[in-house]
Amino acid sequence: MAYCVALFWMTVLSRRALDVDLTHLRTNHADMNDVLQPHTRIALHNVTFTYAGATEPALRDVTLAVPAGQICAIIGRAGAGKSTLCALCAGFVPHFFRGRLTGSAIVDDMPVATHPIAELVRHVALVGSNAFSQISGARFTVYDEVAFGLENLGVPRPAMIERVEWALRALGIDHLRDRSPYALSGGQQQRMVIAAALAMNPPVLALDEPTSQLDPPAMIELADVLRSLSRQGMTILVAEHRLEWVADVAERVVALDHGAVLADGAPASVLTDPRLCEHGIGWPRPAQMAAQARAEGRWAPERPLPITVADLAAGLRAAAADQESMNGQSNTPHGLTVRPVAEMDEALSMTPVAEPVVTLDEVHFTYPTGVEALRGVSLTVRRGERIALVGRNGAGKSTLVRHLNGLLRPSRGRVLVDGVDTRTTTVARCARSVGVVFQDVRNQLFARTVRDEIRFGPRNLGFAPERVDALTEAAIDALDLHDVVSEHPYDLPPARRRLVAIAAVLAMDTALLVLDEPTAGLDNASIALLKRLIEQLTERQRSVLVVSHDLDFCYEALDRVVLMRDGRIAFDGRFAEVDQVQTAALDGDVGLPIALRLRYVCP
């Protein structure tokens, strides 16, 4: 029974160091491409591509040469062409997504236009941006799912098992090997699809927004894995919105704007290039904060802008030191440029006596598969609160969210929505006070146009026609959807689709709005949109609960933070008041927002 074989290998391999198997894994490519003397793996020359039926080209005259073993990050606003570029390097453009392609694209010495995906797949692996839709569906466990690609490539069993074991461990999903690929949390699924691609061990790897569902520690682990793979000679192309992560992992950054290359070079120079701000891509937070500090004279004018928190802290410290030496009085620990909202507008910070919207009381929940997702969660959401629900992948956040409007009902304990037990009422009733945008918005959209989609909710709630119209238009404004109101939701790019889903729920004008990973796959412009939206809601005494791995977003837009760990609440406090201990707890599980990091970790 191969399964025993697998177990045997597992035990053998688990004692091996990561890089050891890596070198081992690389060997079979050594013949295909000489790792020692790096030559160009991805060679794009004046590539222009226009999707069939599209008026504007998605890529304009792109020229790009990526040497073997380089980690090259692609950044850009929504619709800039990042995914198209990744798809092109893997041959999905033009073989799967049709359109007009001009110029030459050569990947691992294979002209993309003239070789079918079936051949290219031995040279380049692509991980698409939607983690939820890349499960082959033909395998019943995570382990077999990761092996699927290798079976199709005809890799001999022992080598296959070795690679699968390595990939499972590299992505930290070893313990999920026997789960059904469908019975996973968002982040766990994303880890699985990345593992499936890594296991195929291609010379060129194209990752489209690989971190959108990952928790911060997983992001760091992924960065390490990618670095060690590139040391082995793997060429890695990664499209990302999370500029802080890009700054951490990339050796080179290419900024796209409307399909054309805007900037190309070393992270330190590209990520602090003024043109990024001009074109709405923005800078990584350390650079932003340093720029602001410079404006306020707390950053040496000649000192280059930092892209990592460490450099930022060092620079601020140096500047502060100079100040002191000049005039004796020391200034506050580099007066933070970004403050928790609670500090900014005390007026808004809600009073604890505000009446509760939702109350969870010792809630337990076990999935049919026997996974104990919630193990006694008690939580109260009051009017006007802005709550960040954070925690590692699989902590139970989405499961908790599904309890907030009665979609799931507790196995033990109870959930009160507006004082009514969810077990005694219908989801439709809960929907009047709690609106939820799910992590996976796929089966949330069903109307034929964006406007109908947004009207659907308020109409069902039986509001007066004029109120329905008012709410619909307000939601369209809030999420800036004017240009697409009459499009079919599924004709929009994924990021925009998510905004439509948010608008559709927003239009129901509920007391509590719940957003599960709203920033996943959104560019800075859209994220700014969300921040403004949340502010407006609080002004109208609406509560917001956001599940997010983007701690900086949470810190800047929300004030109360709830940390989940293994189906329990590890702590529940306010950003403005977190102490050393809580900071440590946060840091250990999901990392810290930069502001807190500056205050506690590297002051």
Partner: protein, 196 residues
């Protein structure tokens, strides 16, 4: 229009490979709902098959129908298994209807539905008779009893029963399929290559 590469063994595009299982699941889920839960004298168990036929052609349609009944027979209702041949033919016809461009108007779809229904009835009658003695445990058995009572042979009664319920069922199916396809987002129509 889809240009995804095709697998050597079966000539199915990866798009077909992805769509067919979903169509099968839709067939089974809906069919089971209608027949076992609602117990209506129609089946509605071939919407997926008809859709695939219309969108991807006869071969894909036939495979969808065939496998739908095989899987259904092996998971929920053994009664479905012997009728796999019928389902395959339904998919085949839908494929040709699509190539002929029935999509363009609702009445062509309705017509295709009637034709499909009659042919389906003709093929299923002998199977129903020889394997199941004319009955399937579904709501339609009432009709069989009625016709036999009017003096028809088992085979004759099975055919008449089919001739009554199949055209109706298939017409409804085609019309639903039509309503769905004309409402599809542009990108999907392009992907699945239906005639605009």
């Amino acid at each position: 229009m889809t240009t995804s590469t095709t697998s050597q063994r079966s000539g199915l595009s990866s798009t077909a490979l992805a769509l067919i299982p979903i169509a099968i699941a839709i067939n089974v889920a809906l069919g089971h709902l209608v027949q076992s839960v609602l117990k209506l004298p129609i089946y509605l168990d071939s919407i997926g098959t008809v859709l695939v036929g219309l969108l991807l052609g006869p071969l894909a349609g036939a495979i969808t129908g065939l496998l739908s009944n095989v899987i259904w027979g092996l998971t929920l209702a053994p009664a479905a298994l012997p009728f796999a041949a019928v389902a395959a033919v339904i998919g085949l016809i839908a494929g040709y209807a699509g190539q002929y461009g029935a999509i363009r108007s609702w009445w062509k779809m309705a017509l295709a539905g009637v034709i499909t229904g009659v042919i389906a009835a003709a093929i299923s009658a002998p199977i129903a008779t020889y394997v199941f003695g004319g009955v399937t445990g579904a709501g339609t058995d009432v009709l069989v009893a009625m016709f036999q009572n009017l003096g028809a042979s088992v085979l004759g009664a099975s055919f008449m029963q089919g001739a009554v319920s199949d055209p109706l069922d298939k017409t409804i199916t085609y019309l639903i399929a039509w309503a769905i396809i004309i409402a599809l987002p542009r990108r999907l129509l392009a992907r699945f290559g239906a005639a605009e």
